[in-house]
Symmetry: C2
């Protein structure tokens, strides 16, 4: 147990309880490094199959880790006690394509026609990268990775379409190489990067202008920006679809699951791990 | 059989015969894409153990594929008919640290105290990269990859020391990412790159000034230079050691072996595939 918390920050169940009870309100990217964290996306059942198809068409950005039964806020395979109405620590509620609220929990909003999706998140491989000696300066500086809206289109499905959103990490070349080699093994956490180097080549005009306005955006002279596909792609697609209701996690407050990170690796050398 | 040759360019034995008989005099990088090619390094037996130790200390640059018995120009495990006195297609003879000759074969120079080493070469993964959709512009333009002497030191052993030599390929970002993911699986062909992006960070002042003066050195605006450790590192070390005699292959005229490239892959995710 770390001195900084009154709970075990490496236990998914303990972290979920701390979030649920309001004892922990921070970003989840420094916690439970050995277990998978995910993006949350809740849509009405009427849109759920279209959204699932959209994820399947864009698996690098939107790798589905779990999907609830209609009306259920639980996905038992991700955690027996997991309650998606309370355990994300922060939510964004979108109505007709507009952000309407950012509540701490959504028990009062739950409906029997809602379907929850949990999507892979690059937070899950950050611990693995560090284990392989990759310096993640944004973590050293207490930040999260910055996100950007690119000029790259996703493949549309039904009402869902929009640009690819990416996360960026500022890495020295040797660390970028290590990070690519390692992350390629984890397609369920976005796999290998989609780009590195010149941001303008993927439609990012200015690194200082990140999506949501947060994250580490300044590069040192010996660093390259390295860009991974990001689950926030789903938020933009839901906004563009102007769904009557859509609920997501609040930035960097992810769903903490019981899935071990290590059990998710071991992808053989084939096209699955190579970005298309 | 390709129309361009009077031998099967995908058969190691046929290529060796064509080289041995003088019917083929070109670079080997477009041939036998499915089989391993190697750097040749021949030293007197008195220096062989020091050189082997130097390779072991610098495995990313100098992965040993085979070593002959003292006095033998054969390494049967690399090809039953392989004769290292005639099959490289071109040789460089160094005496006391100076290039003294570049003969087509070295039968007359062979001595019963010489030991031959064959070291992995990045030519062997170029075909694999292309199979994974990586565009190698230098091949499209009929060139070889350029080599550079870096400011990075190798780990010395006995008389052997010197800078790391690298090969460079000009790649677009998405291809660089693919190339890193794939080459990391082939530590016996130099593994993942050692650097990408700014050449100055590894002591390369000017990409136009390549080692040996050959290879593709011009970058397009959307390309990054990607640098792999190179077996030519051994040549510089042998020069610096001022060996009384040292014989290597002539540039881009490699030893063609019977080892299948594909059988060499499948490295599990561990520190072996991550450059240190």
């Amino acid at each position: 147990m770390s001195n900084a918390f009154d709970f075990d920050p490496e236990s998914p169940r303990a972290v979920r309880q701390a979030i649920r009870s309001g004892r922990f309100r921070g970003f989840t990217n420094g916690l439970v490094r050995g277990h998978v964290q995910g993006n949350l996306m809740i849509v009405p059942a009427a849109q759920a199959d279209d959204f699932a198809a959209y994820c399947a068409l864009n698996p690098q950005a939107l790798p589905v880790l779990g999907r609830s039964e209609p009306g259920s806020p639980h996905i038992p395979a991700l955690g027996a006690d997991l309650d998606l109405r309370t355990d994300a620590g922060g939510y964004m509620v979108f109505r007709n394509g507009e952000l309407s609220d950012t509540p701490r929990e959504i028990s009062g909003l739950w409906r029997d026609d809602l379907v929850a999706f949990v999507l892979g998140c690059s937070f899950s491989f950050e611990g693995v990268l560090q284990q392989h000696g990759v310096r993640l300066r944004h973590l050293d500086e207490g930040q999260v990775s910055a996100m950007y809206v690119t000029g790259l289109p996703t493949r549309p499905s039904g009402a869902f379409s929009g640009p690819l959103v990416v996360s960026m990490r500022a890495l020295r070349a040797a660390d970028a190489i290590r990070a690519i080699s390692v992350s390629a093994r984890y397609p369920q956490f976005h796999g290998a990067p989609v780009h590195l180097g010149q941001p303008g080549l993927i439609g990012i005009a200015d690194l200082a202008q990140s999506y949501g306005g947060h994250g580490l955006t300044q590069l040192h002279a010996d660093e390259l920006p390295v860009f991974w596909a990001c689950g926030a792609t789903a938020q933009l697609a839901a906004l563009q679809a102007r769904l009557p209701l859509c609920i997501t996690h609040y930035k960097a407050h992810m769903v903490v699951t019981d899935l071990p990170v290590q059990a998710s690796r071991a992808i053989p050398l084939d096209k699955k791990e190579i970005p298309s």
